[in-house]
Amino acid sequence: MLLAPRLRIRRGVSPNLDQVKHVGTLAPAVLLGLCLQSSAVLATSAGPNADEPKSPAMSVDPATRSSSLAQIDRHNVNQLEPVFTFRTGRLGAQGSAPLIRGDKLLVLSAFPHTLFAIGLARSNGTLSWQFSPTANRVADGLHCCDRTHLGPVAVGDRIYFSTLDGHVVAVDAEHDTPVWDVAVADPGQGETLASAPTAAAAELIVGNAGDDYGARGWIAALDRATGRTLWKHYSTGPDQDVGISADFKPAGPRDQGSHSWPGTAWQHGGGSVSGWISYDPRLQLVFHDTGPPAPWNPDPRPGDNRWTSGVFARDARTGEARWFVGLHPHALFPWRNGSANLLLDHTWEGAPRALLVHPDADGRLYVIDRQTGKILAADSYISYPRVARRASAEQTPRTNVQVRDVCPAWPGALGGDAALDQTTGRLYLPVSRLCMDLEGRSANYLQGTAFIGANVRVTSSNESDGAVVAWDVISRRAVWSIRERFPVASDVLVTAGGLVFYGTLDGRLKAVDAQSGTPLWQFGTSAPITGQPTTFVGPDGRQYVAVVAGASGPYGLAQQAWIDRRDATAARGLARVIANVGRPRDPSGTLYVFGLP
């Protein structure tokens, strides 16, 4: 049921619009008529792949989360006001941005998923159709600690989205009917999907999640027409499984994927591909992260635990691995490595280079040459009250030995996916500054149950646990950073209008000046914002900003209603830190659309 609260907006130039008394009522939506009176040409937001003709002024590039729209800019952003909201009725959200497709706005709810299409043509946003694939409720138990961006994404004339219980669904946008629904991941093995498929030349590429359940990471390509799996490669195991052939760089001994593990530990070795998979049409390469090895306790998995905790480059057509950068061989700490890589073509030390910008969960920003996989720069983008003393012996987590004040905490230094403004070469990073105490325990693999082998307690510095950092990739320094009370767990959006949008855990959508970082506007929604804010041009030709508020990912886990903060290890140790945020007024996922009056 579409509902939009009656909004009483007090005029007044106060940047802080969330004085608005937000009355969530179930009364039929009464919309401020004045916003949508003029009809506008519907802007289709182009799909991610570049070979589609990308209409210049309309889209948000999902690879870099930057938008070329400039109607809303520094000067008028403080007049931004909510146009309508849509309540999905599911607890929490799943982190993807709403997608504009013709005159419809597509929103995917949290698990069990429903794809809502909201028509923007008439004065109020009315639900034109919805589609709910069948859901395997076992996946409810597996929704734990990976940031989920399950879609929808538009490719050609179809809409695709992934589901938590391991399905990829294709929907025909014109006739609003499902085309195919393919199961690629098996929740029984602990495998889930965490990201929407990425469109490559003719394929859809998707990777699994489930490190915490001992699921072995893999990446697969599906045929866009029928959903048939074209190729599938794993993050661990012999070269033939991983897709390593002769022209793999760095050349090394064979089958490192299984020889760098004891016995058959690689079969439950983790290394999930839960983050956004970047695609470079020019080089025909696909870049993706591999998650931390399983279990968290390094004792039962001596050796380099090859191909986990690193960045892979693969050929889009065959999936053959071109190069791999091992950031944390034999990873001592279970940092979630599912953050998006950003492609940047820029001059580097005089010569134009194809760069891959990888903000890593360990708090460093790696700049890698996309063609060769050589690390060009690795600078720390975050400062900690207590620096992580990783190298020293007593800081190495071992069985029955507790290591204290390890920073960053297991969710990693990056709270969400960064945004890259390709013109200025500036990266806007949503940062989480939490630390943790970690104690290794003996890990016992039981299929379908959590395979952690560690007790963890996340500790907060109780002045500011989060930040948004503007980082100049070329000059390798932080331009500005804003301190946030709580970890910033949302993705970031940068617009040509010189604005940076991000959301906070206590539900505020904020806009700041991309140049100087001064806060310009914020709005208090009813649930924590852990998703991707987006902007689009409505049918009336006016620019709107939209975000789905609702808890998801590791911080969302700690927001569940039943979490009891008297147990310091509840919600993987996050319970006490997130408890300071307080309970959201309305935990269900809600779409907010803002526009200029």
């Binding site: 029955n400 030995v401 507790q402 104690e439």
Partner: protein, 636 residues
């Protein structure tokens, strides 16, 4: 109280028979239950202590037989694993905490006031309180055993096995609380002994004239005062870890498992010297009497006692040679552990010299001394062996060590103790024990002991670890274990015969004169058994052997009042009379205080709040105890 007699009459003004009747009335312990519960007479409480301790010895002995029965053959099912763990823990805890330390202190409670020539022990009401607390601790432990709740973690209760995670139920808490009971009792008695020896000696008994037994009890008392607090801290930390959730011994939250071992053994080794030194004192008394001459090298003996006491605190890590401490540190403890054999050696040589030069009368106590010397020297030498770090890595926690400490404990402490019972039984009960049965007891004990425990040296070298409830047949330990178990019956027969002799002699033993053995110390200067007031008039001592040097005319000091319980306070070094001190009368409050603290301590196993609410009745009883009774202040 002193109704018929005029107040302020001193013992100088009365003749002997009239004096004795007055003193008897003043120092009288009423009969019936009230008298039993409220007595403060060190002789009654001392006798009670000794009897209770020997009852616990008997019970502990039965447990030992049960263990030997289970270990007589491989894979026997006499006792299940759980029961065997409870039995061997009870055997250890009962023998160490409920028999050995209390019986030695009980002998001191009875004998020290008599040997230093005073009327009652210092702080007699504290003495009563300590007995009731000790009895309550013993009853609690044995009731728990009857209820299948006995501790099953060893008498040393190493963490983490006795800790919160692996010590299921309330068993380890019972152990920790039993420690609290017995250690408060031991501390109380130690303080009384120190004050009695230093301040209430007969005039003229300078430091050089104190009997060697009293010296050994003084050193033991100081050992108790310095060692017991450590185990009380350790058991309190354990019970806090288990019931309140502190992390003293939790390695992952900053605690340390070895902290427990250091705390326990810092008390543990002085504990075994607390048991051994009184026995040394008894041997000195027995040797002097039955060799007919003072012990050779009095000064050497006293210095040996004191150096043993001091060194006892410096060698506890020899119990922890295999826990992985740095080797150099351990070697230091090798040297300190071996060097404690030197004062022990001095004492042995002095006794041998005394025996060499004395006119020996082969009565039963002397036979026990001979058995003691042979057995203890072997135990001491195996002690030197286990003091060496490398050697200890092979024999630690094996039956070699079981043999070693039984040699030094049974050989070194129980033999002299039983000899001392034969020696002082006439004084305590007024009846002589039978020589004939005594000789059988010595023979059975000596033979039984050696046949039972010598093979254990071999078993240890054969690789048999301690505290195993059974062993596999292919280990070839069956023969030696069976031999040891069978010989244990001889040892048990010896103890049984001893108990029979005690009970028989109580009723039908011949009447004992004042000084049946012709000994030289003051306790033989009064009747057997001594009256409530011990001495009609406090004796004055002229030499180290008062009864030998002036057998008939023992000088006495006068001036103590008759109508009020008074005793003489003398200076520490030269024992010059300083003041007449009022000695407290019978009082029921120590019994009530013990009862209240027992309820508090037992309830605190079940809820930590019991410490809060339980302390209210304890406070009330203590107030009742110390409420001024209106006695006039003591005159100078």
């Amino acid at each position: 109280m002193s109704d018929s007699r005029q107040p302020g009459v001193s013992d100088a003004q009365l003749e002997r028979p009239e004096l004795e009747s007055h003193l008897a009335a003043t120092w009288r312990t009423p009969g019936g239950l009230w008298g039993v519960l409220s007595t403060v007479d060190h002789k009654i409480i001392g006798r009670r202590y000794i009897v209770t301790a020997f009852v616990f010895l008997a019970l502990g002995g039965v447990l030992a037989l049960l263990m030997r029965l289970q270990l007589a053959g491989s894979e026997r099912r006499v006792l299940s694993a759980d029961w065997y763990n409870q039995v061997f823990t009870m055997h250890g805890a009962n023998m160490m905490f409920l028999f050995a330390v209390p019986v030695m202190e009980a002998m001191a409670i009875y004998l020290v006031p008599l040997m230093v020539g005073t009327r009652n022990i210092a702080f007699p009401r504290l003495n009563a309180f300590s007995y009731w607390l000790y009895l309550a601790g013993g009853i609690m432990l044995w009731t728990a055993f009857a209820l299948n709740m006995a501790p099953d973690v060893g008498w040393f209760a190493y963490v983490p096995l006795s800790g919160p995670q692996f010590g299921a139920g309330k068993r380890a808490d019972i152990w920790a609380q039993m420690i609290t009971f017995t250690e408060i009792a031991a501390l109380a008695v130690a303080i009384e002994i120190v004050v009695t020896v230093l301040k209430q000696r007969a005039p003229g008994m300078t430091l050089q004239r104190i009997p060697l037994f009293v010296w050994s009890m003084l050193v033991t008392a100081f050992l108790v005062i310095l060692a017991m607090p450590t185990i009380m801290i350790a058991s309190t930390c354990l019970i806090l870890d288990r019931l309140v959730g502190t992390h003293f011994f939790n390695p992952s939250e900053g605690g340390d498992v070895l902290l427990w071992q250091h705390l326990f053994w810092f008390f543990g080794h002085p504990e075994v010297y607390i048991i051994f030194l009184p026995a040394v004192g008894m041997v000195s008394s027995l040797v002097a009497t039955f060799a007919g001459r003072p012990v050779f090298g009095y000064l050497a003996m006293v210095l040996a006692l004191i150096s043993t006491g001091v060194l006892a605190f410096g060698l506890w890590v020899h119990h922890m040679f295999v826990v992985g401490l740095p080797r150099v540190g351990e070697s230091f403890f090798t040297i300190s552990s071996m060097s404690i054999a030197i004062p022990a050696g001095v004492q042995i040589f002095c006794w041998l010299a005394t025996l060499w030069d004395g006119r020996l009368r082969f009565r039963v106590p002397l036979l026990f001394v001979i058995a003691f010397i042979i057995t203890f020297v072997m135990g001491g030498l195996t002690g030197v062996m286990v003091a060496s770090v490398p050697l200890d890595t092979q024999v630690h926690d094996t039956y070699f060590v079981v043999a070693h400490f039984h040699y030094v404990l049974i050989g070194g402490a129980v033999f002299p103790l039983i000899g001392a019972i034969y020696y002082w039984f006439p004084k305590m009960s007024g009846r002589l024990m039978s020589e004939r049965i005594g000789r059988w007891v010595v023979g059975l004990l000596f033979v039984g002991f050696n046949l039972t425990f010598f093979p254990m040296h071999v078993l240890g070298l054969l690789g048999m670890p301690r505290r195993i409830y059974t062993y596999s047949p292919e280990m070839h330990w069956d023969a030696l274990n069976l031999f040891s178990s069978v010989s244990a019956t001889i040892l048990a027969a010896g103890f049984l015969l001893f108990f029979i002799d005690v009970i028989r002699s109580l009723r039908r033993g011949p009447q004992a004169p004042e000084n049946p053995w012709g000994a030289s110390t003051l306790e033989w200067a009064t009747t057997s058994p001594p009256p409530g007031y011990n001495f009609p008039r406090v004796p004055v001592v002229g030499s180290a052997q008062p009864l030998w040097d002036e057998p008939e005319s023992l000088a006495v000091a006068c001036g103590l009042r008759v109508d009020r319980r008074e005793l003489l306070i003398t200076s520490v070094v030269s024992a010059q009379p300083q003041a007449r001190e009022a000695s407290p009368r019978n009082s029921i409050w120590p019994f009530f205080a013990a009862l209240a603290s027992t309820l508090m301590l037992i309830a605190s196993i079940f809820t930590p709040w019991a410490m809060v609410w339980g302390s209210v009745p304890v406070l009330i009883t203590l107030i009742g105890w110390f409420w001024p009774k209106g006695d006039p202040e003591d005159e100078g």
